[in-house]
Symmetry: C2
Subunit: 368 residues, 2 copies
């Protein structure tokens, strides 16, 4: 039975061959670049897919929440970085995790260090979270005195050991091409190393640098100046990464299969069951407009090439309005599946909550 | 114990008093306007909240998916409209529902009528889905010949009975004020009635008109020309409805409690645990910029007034970047809860999957 026959509603299809190749490629790059590979598991959030990383030699991982750390710890992962500023309301859960696995946390204020040091009974490693230019959170890269002061506070703490400096250079997501992403990666790495020098000069020892974002890590091979990379999205990639050029169409690991429910050939549109609650409302700019995803051809056993000019033009709660060229619209009939390459695969995976492998088995993920 | 002490991570708080008042008000308006109230349950998706509607006299409901119809049918609701173009891949589930409850469906093509008529063994009522100007899907309001033709097709069907004409005037969401929303509502109703006249003139009998969108239904009291209203979002309202003026701050039924994890007073920002996977990435325009939500004051037992100029300026997967005035930032400390009024409460409810009532009990909703 073709996989499409088992799909009755919006379903996130996963191509295991592609996903395993993406994992292998990034693991190989890290190995060749002599940097530690600590992939971010927030994209897939699945113990089964985590096993594919294990087979590629991965033992250390990154997650984005305490709950996600607990999920992977329960599945046997015992070296985890929670790459999210400490939430003081989850100290008990953090301490419980620290009692059974090696845990690494992010801090960016003396207040957070103090809360942790008083709240934990078990030791953790701490990274100082640095804003290397992305402007989300962290201590500013160009204010070394603040970083030094926080490092000093950490030196006084009983339950925290300063491991180094960590950043997420999310500004690579606005890079127009892979060269620009690689350039931004290099700039972030250089800023982090300048900060490291300040710490070493002040007598701190063995200060590591951790960076990680998919556009940067996919577009560069020069990992010489960083100790660790933490990309996540590369496991699936998506339309946004395709636009940047950090992946090729053949690297797309997931697509949302959506049943066609209405045709509007007079305005060049098709309506699918598959909307904001499946794709999220994340967008990318594509050929001059904001779109919610791209459209791939249906094949006998999944999805194929991108349909030129095929986009998800609008979404409401359960509807996706697709714009397609006349030739693609002409042969469609109600109930056909259309395959959407999401703008942002992390959010789409989170929305769907599980994957259907092309071989027909369900791949479960963490549930909130 | 104050409710805030039980909150450790992003949590959707619900004020039952407000929600019941919103339900009562809309039910009262429909009664006074002598129109049938068939509220859309896609916003709350909860059997417990459905019970509050039952207490307000509601027996007929609208949902947006076959799964949602099955969830409410299992909970005792036996008169349901699935306000979504028929998905041919769920005919078996639809037929199963039609065997046990009164089911109403939307059709907008002869192809859909044919699929249903051949696929169903049980009778359903059918609404012709009309696009009265919103441009999402449905037959165009200004092409009565297409509507007449589809009505004729329905007359020949064995398992479908034409009930009338249905539209969702989603264009009211871009109304600048309640008067404009009421105006758009009136325009849609007039267009629907013109179509109804065409059908009656062609010999069709008892053609009903169903409309429904929260800005329109909240802003008008003139329901004389429609047989049924189907608003949904009014149960909670949100920042978007506040902006239109279809609700007041006191009508906001839910707020996302988010722990503070970092402070950046130098740039007027605070970072909370609470991002795109909680709020969705829906936005509204507020004071000249796109924002992901508004911020309300924390009170002893929940949330209070809106903080002037307090907005969710950016979100990433788990982070929300809030911009707050200096006075509001000054007294904050890590771990404090900040209350976000979401841009779009339907999507935030979907993301969170359950509600915490101000009295401390969890209100469950349908899980995918």
């Amino acid at each position: 039975m073709p996989i499409s026959d088992s799909i009755h509603k919006p379903t996130l299809l996963l191509d295991e061959t592609v996903v395993r190749r993406n994992i292998q490629r990034m693991a190989g790059k890290a190995l060749a670049g002599r940097t530690r590979f600590r992939p971010h598991f927030k994209t897939h959030q699945s113990l089964e897919i985590a096993g594919w990383f294990r087979q590629a030699g991965v033992n250390q991982i990154t997650v984005s929440s305490v709950d996600m750390a607990a999920y992977f710890a329960a599945g046997g992962w015992d070296d985890i970085t929670i790459a999210f500023s400490v939430n003081p309301r989850q100290l008990a859960e953090i301490d419980s995790l620290a009692s059974s696995i090696h845990l690494e946390l992010l801090v960016e204020s003396a207040e957070a260090v103090d809360l942790l040091d008083r709240g934990l009974r078990h030791r953790v490693d701490a990274w100082i979270k640095v804003d290397a230019g992305a402007g989300r959170t962290g201590l500013a890269w160009n204010k070394p005195e603040q970083v030094l002061k926080l490092a000093e506070t950490l030196r006084q703490a009983n339950h925290l050991r300063l491991k180094g400096l960590l950043t997420h250079a999310g500004n690579t997501y606005s890079a127009p091409d892979p060269q620009a992403a690689a350039g931004l990666f290099a700039v972030s790495a250089a800023r982090m190393n300048r900060l490291r020098q300040s710490l070493l000069a002040a007598g701190f020892e063995d200060i590591q640098v951790s960076v990680g974002d998919t556009p940067g890590c996919s577009s560069t091979t020069d990992f010489a100046t960083v100790n660790e990379i933490r990309p996540g999205n590369f496991v699936f990639y998506d339309a946004q990464q395709l636009k940047i050029g950090s992946c090729q169409p053949a690297d797309l690991g997931v697509a949302l299969a959506c049943p066609l429910v209405a045709l509007h050939p007079e305005r060049g549109e098709a309506v699918v069951y598959g909307g904001a609650i499946h794709l999220s409302k994340d967008t990318l700019e594509w050929e001059g407009e904001r779109v919610y995803g791209l459209i791939a051809e249906a094949t006998a056993d999944g999805w194929g090439s991108l349909i030129p000019s095929g986009v998800v033009a609008r979404v409401s709660q359960e509807h996706g309005i697709l714009r397609l060229p006349p030739a693609a619209l002409a042969h469609l009939k109600l109930g056909d599946l259309l395959y959407v390459i999401p703008a942002h695969s992390c959010l789409t995976a989170q929305c769907l909550g599980r994957y259907l492998s092309l071989d027909g088995h369900w791949i479960e993920m963490m549930r909130a």
